[in-house]
């Protein structure tokens, strides 16, 4: 019985900590600033831990002095001179010095994060309601456009030029670095140097309208040779339809005016309003991180666009005959 009471008491005292434990799983995964996979993210994570440590240190000293004055020496007389020094030293000088040290550390770090020298690859990213236009500058001066997916070579310093044609967005890949605003009328810059191959998640970090939460993107960090091969494939035009159904899908795509907004290089579709779909089937997600890519999800997206992403500019084409919709979805899912 005593044992049971002891266990109950232990449970009562440790319950808050145990209940908070599952929250720690949020610190893990492909979108965590606390699991850095790049030089910049390592610096930001180090800043976070130093800030946390500094905050805890100040709290411990101030609360320690408080407990000392009110509990440990409660019944003893306090010397006025000594008390003044405790208040001045523990309450003012110590926190000021610790905060100044953290500020200096943060400022030095900020200067390091804004060093744009030594970059080997340049990528222009435009945040648009609610997707990402991505343009790779190649060595021969040509540009390769894709959407909602960024691939990076491991160990290379990559310069990003960030812009927006509509409202303020913010470009953030927590595993690789800090966030930078994308401001209409301006081009902002950031540097990322990934250190671990893998797949990560990026997101818009500035509220930008009703589908803000559905403005995500996939980031794949690859070995250098694999990256070069991937970029070569992305630069190539779309592969022609492989069978009659896919051919019917291409015709439906062109006949229904999809090419007015979307480009599929190698076809008559040369629209610039929406995402480039030349290799849409090879991407990890559809609708800026909304759905996986396969024929079924393409069909859902085309037929129910406004339901999947509220207020999106693309109209839903649910009125199309089912066979046309299926053929179009098949064609797009095969654009690898």
């Amino acid at each position: 019985m005593t044992r049971l009471l002891q266990l109950r008491a232990m449970w009562r005292s440790s319950r808050p900590a145990i209940l908070l434990f599952p929250l720690l799983s949020g610190c893990n995964g492909p979108q965590s600033a606390l699991q850095p996979a790049g030089i910049e993210a390592e610096r930001v994570a180090a800043l976070f831990w130093w800030m946390t440590g500094g905050g805890i240190l100040i709290w411990l000293v101030v609360m320690g002095l408080f407990i000392y004055a009110t509990h440990i020496r409660r019944h003893k007389e306090h010397s006025v001179r000594r008390t003044r020094w405790l208040i001045l030293g523990g309450g003012i000088i110590f926190p000021t010095v610790v905060l100044a040290a953290l500020l200096v550390y943060g400022l030095i770090l900020m200067a390091q994060l804004r060093d744009f020298s030594g970059t080997t690859l340049k990528i222009a990213v435009s945040g648009e309601q609610w997707w990402w236009r991505v343009r790779y500058a190649r060595e021969d001066g040509s540009m390769v456009e894709l959407a909602n997916e960024i691939r990076l070579p491991v160990g290379e310093r990559v310069a990003f030029e960030l812009s927006s044609p509509d409202v303020i967005h913010a470009f953030w890949i927590p595993s690789l670095g800090g966030k930078v605003d994308m401001i209409p009328g301006r081009t902002t810059q950031m540097i990322l140097e990934p250190t671990k191959p893998g797949t990560y998640l990026g997101a818009c970090a500035e509220y930008c309208g009703s589908a803000h939460a559905l403005m995500k993107f996939d980031v794949v960090v690859m070995e250098k040779a694999a990256f070069a091969e991937w970029l070569e494939r992305q630069a190539a035009p779309a592969k022609p339809p492989q069978d009659a159904t896919a051919q019917q899908g291409l015709q439906a795509f062109l006949a229904n005016g999809c090419g007015a907004c979307h480009s599929v290089r190698g076809t008559e579709a040369r629209g610039q309003v929406g995402p480039d779909l030349t290799h849409a089937g090879s991407r990890l997600s559809l609708g800026a991180g909304t759905l996986p890519t396969n024929a079924e999800t393409f069909s859902r997206w085309i037929g129910h666009t406004d339901q999947l992403k509220p207020d999106v500019r693309m109209p839903a084409f649910g009125m199309l005959p089912a066979d046309q919709l299926a053929a179009m979805a098949r064609y797009l899912s095969e654009l690898e």
Binding site: I92, T96, L99, A100, L103, V104, L107, I108, M110, A111, R114, D115, F116, Q189
Partner: protein, 133 residues
């Protein structure tokens, strides 16, 4: 007609009850921040460009900071003198005009201390950040 503080033989002159001295330190801090921010913005947008150096700006903000800190220290000194009104045993928490006078002086001194640290923190940014990037 009863004069104010007639009951309090230690009462300082009525004009000493002004709250204005209390606001001087934080106002200097706010002005320093505003002027430093606007000067840096104009410097980067119109003078050296977004990749330019902050070297020339550092001396401008350095002088501005020294002037601001001197103003805050002077105000703090006035606050300290106001707080020292009376003798060693004087309180500053009773309902008398003398206590209010000392209390306002002490508050001025503390606010000047806060403003001093904050102004120095603002100035640190141009010490460690070298370019408009």
């Amino acid at each position: 007609m009863t004069k104010p503080h007639e009951h309090d033989d230690r009462a300082p002159a009525a004009r000493w009850h002004s709250l204005w001295l209390l606001t001087v330190g934080p106002t200097i801090w706010a002005l320093h921040f505003l002027i430093a921010y606007c000067t840096a913005a104009v410097w980067c947008a119109k003078v050296v460009g977004r990749d330019g150096s902050l070297d020339g700006l550092r001396s401008i903000i350095g002088i501005l900071t020294l002037v601001a800190l001197a103003g805050i220290v002077l105000t703090g000194w006035f606050g300290y003198r106001q707080h020292s009104f009376g003798d060693d045993s004087s309180t500053h928490s009773e309902a008398s005009s003398g206590d209010r006078h000392r209390f306002l002086g002490f508050s001025t001194l503390l606010l000047c201390g806060l403003s001093f640290v904050a102004t120095a923190y603002v100035a640190l940014s141009v010490v460690f950040i070298g370019t408009c990037q």
